[in-house]
């Protein structure tokens, strides 16, 4: 996992769009934040595409340390 935070990215993207829509930015600044916004949108989209289903359960190993292992719910597909 990287430091990427979907939430932070999306919040920043929203700020950028709002700032641009307010129309108060000089052109240079507009272009700068636009590039940032495009990059953020790409990141977010990639995150959504790449996100994978993972279900784990906490277990204690022999040394008493907490680790995780995949969790399968036996009767998950019951009606």
């Amino acid at each position: 996992m990287t430091d990427f935070k979907f939430e932070d990215c999306l919040t920043r993207l929203e700020q950028i769009v709002s700032a641009l829509e307010a129309g108060n930015l000089p052109l240079e600044e507009s272009l700068k934040v636009f590039e940032e916004g495009i990059s953020l949108a790409r990141h977010c989209a990639r995150y959504l595409d790449d996100a994978e289903r993972r279900i784990e359960i906490l277990v204690k190993d022999e040394g008493g340390h907490t680790t995780t292992r995949p969790f399968v719910f036996e009767t998950e597909d019951e009606a």
Binding site: K5, L10, L13, L20, L27, A45, E56, I57, F71
Partner: protein, 432 residues
């Protein structure tokens, strides 16, 4: 001597309740008419789910013991139940009141849920209905999410401790954005673990936002009050925590679209402004300002030159005038000039004089000739005569004289003195 009596139920109000360091509690049950000393040994006290205190109306079950030495007796309490309300209910109210007074339920303490958690911790039984419901809801809404289950028994002895342990472990794991703590529906007894004070304090201490999802909509536990968000059911908790992926994708697509549109608009606006600005000459012909400057420079130079020449010219002219004036003012020059003028004038006078005499002489000759031709004497020479009255007036008409008047007639040679016989208007000249 000690005698055992059969177990009895005694109803009364607690007073003088006191817990000793041994863990045994002593109190008095009383009503309007009587009072009874009671002892609650530590092993029994642990089973009492509410907090016995003065003023509570209770039912106590136990046996009477007589202390022969002192001659008194007391009730050894086996069970203690609040009267009217259930013990659990009372305990719930008491804990709620106490934690509420501590500020653990304060809305200001509650943290917002992350809008897009990527990793969710769930504390519940791995075999219960709650985890099944939650996984199903999450899978439907946004399957591609990371879930970590902290297994815990959710009812019975030790359940509260396991749940609290799960919350602590998920906090320690790292990267967990939200924790759901819950279980499916059940009796008040079944849900009791979630009314545990230690669990309530663990929830309050969690660094990660906690969503409580205990039982059904109508069930409220202490965990619900202390959690950051209370969900009605485990399924509801999953819905609150996990947004629908479709909505997220749409929100992102909307932001992306708005971003591109507003930028296109911004660029168009700036392009318009640029074109308007570019339409001005300055930009259509960049060299133009230079040409303009060069032209103005040339003009200025020419004007300067003219001005200089004019200034010089004026000065030259004035110099000339001044020189001339100066020359005219020279006394020597002025004397010479005057003498020359005098000679000149003299000559002119002389010439004028001669010219006037000549002209006079010439005119005199001509006038003499003319005078000669006009002389009456010359006319008389051709036979004409001149008649005059006695007083010398020339007679031109018959009206000038009358009969008997004396007239004198001047002839070419000599004159005649005559007398007028008669005057006649008519004469015998030939009519022409």
């Amino acid at each position: 001597m000690e005698e055992k009596f059969p177990a009895v139920w005694v109803e009364g109000e607690i007073s003088n309740f006191k817990v000793y360091s041994s863990g045994h509690a002593y109190f008095t049950l009383k009503d309007e008419n009587a009072q009874l000393r009671c002892v609650l040994f530590r092993t029994r006290a642990r089973r009492v789910r509410f907090e016995p205190r003065d003023g509570l109306h209770v039912l106590a079950f136990g046996s009477l013991e007589i202390y022969a030495q002192r001659g008194d007796y007391s009730l050894v309490v086996e069970l203690l139940e609040p009267k009217g309300v259930g013990a659990l209910q009372l305990a719930f109210e008491q804990l709620k009141e106490r934690l509420g007074a501590e500020g653990l339920f304060n809305p200001a303490r509650k943290r917002p849920l992350p809008r897009f958690p990527r990793k969710i911790g769930i504390v519940t039984s791995p075999s219960g209905a709650a985890i099944r419901d939650m996984l199903r809801v999450i899978g439907r809404r946004f399957g591609e999410i990371h879930i970590v289950l902290a297994p815990a028994r959710v009812q019975g002895e030790g359940a509260a401790g396991e749940i609290a342990q799960g919350i602590r472990e998920l906090n320690a794991l790292g990267g967990v954005d939200a924790i759901i703590v819950g279980r499916g529906g059940g009796s008040l007894e079944d849900l009791w673990a979630f009314n545990d004070e230690m669990l309530a304090r663990t929830i309050a201490a969690s660094k990660i936002p906690v969503i409580s999802a205990v039982g059904h909509e109508v069930d409220f536990t202490i965990a619900d009050f202390v959690a950051d968000v209370r969900a009605a059911t485990p399924s509801n908790a999953a819905e609150l925590v996990v947004k629908e992926k479709r909505a997220v994708v749409e929100a992102l697509a909307d932001l992306d679209g708005r971003l591109r549109r507003v930028m296109a608009r911004t660029l168009a606006t700036h392009r318009d402004r640029l074109e308007r600005a570019a339409g001005r000459r300055v930009l259509t012909d960049p060299a133009r300002p230079l040409h303009e400057l060069a032209r103005r420079l040339d003009e200025a130079r020419a004007r300067l030159r003219q001005a200089a020449l004019a200034a010089l010219g004026r000065r030259g002219h004035r110099l000339e005038l001044a020189t001339r004036d100066l020359r005219g003012l020279n006394p020597v020059a002025r004397t010479l000039h005057g003498r020359r003028a005098l000679i000149d004038l003299h000559g002119r006078l002389e010439r004028a004089l001669y010219r006037g005499v000549d002209r006079a002489r010439h005119r005199l000759g001509a006038d003499a000739g003319r005078l000669d031709s006009l002389s009456p004497l010359a006319v008389l020479g051709r036979g004409y005569s001149l008649t005059r009255t006695a007083d010398g007036r020339i007679v031109r008409t018959w009206r000038d004289v009358g009969a008997g008047d004396a007239v004198s007639v001047l002839l070419h040679e000599g004159s005649l003195d005559c007398r007028v016989d008669a005057t006649q208007e008519r004469d015998d000249r030939l009519q022409v």
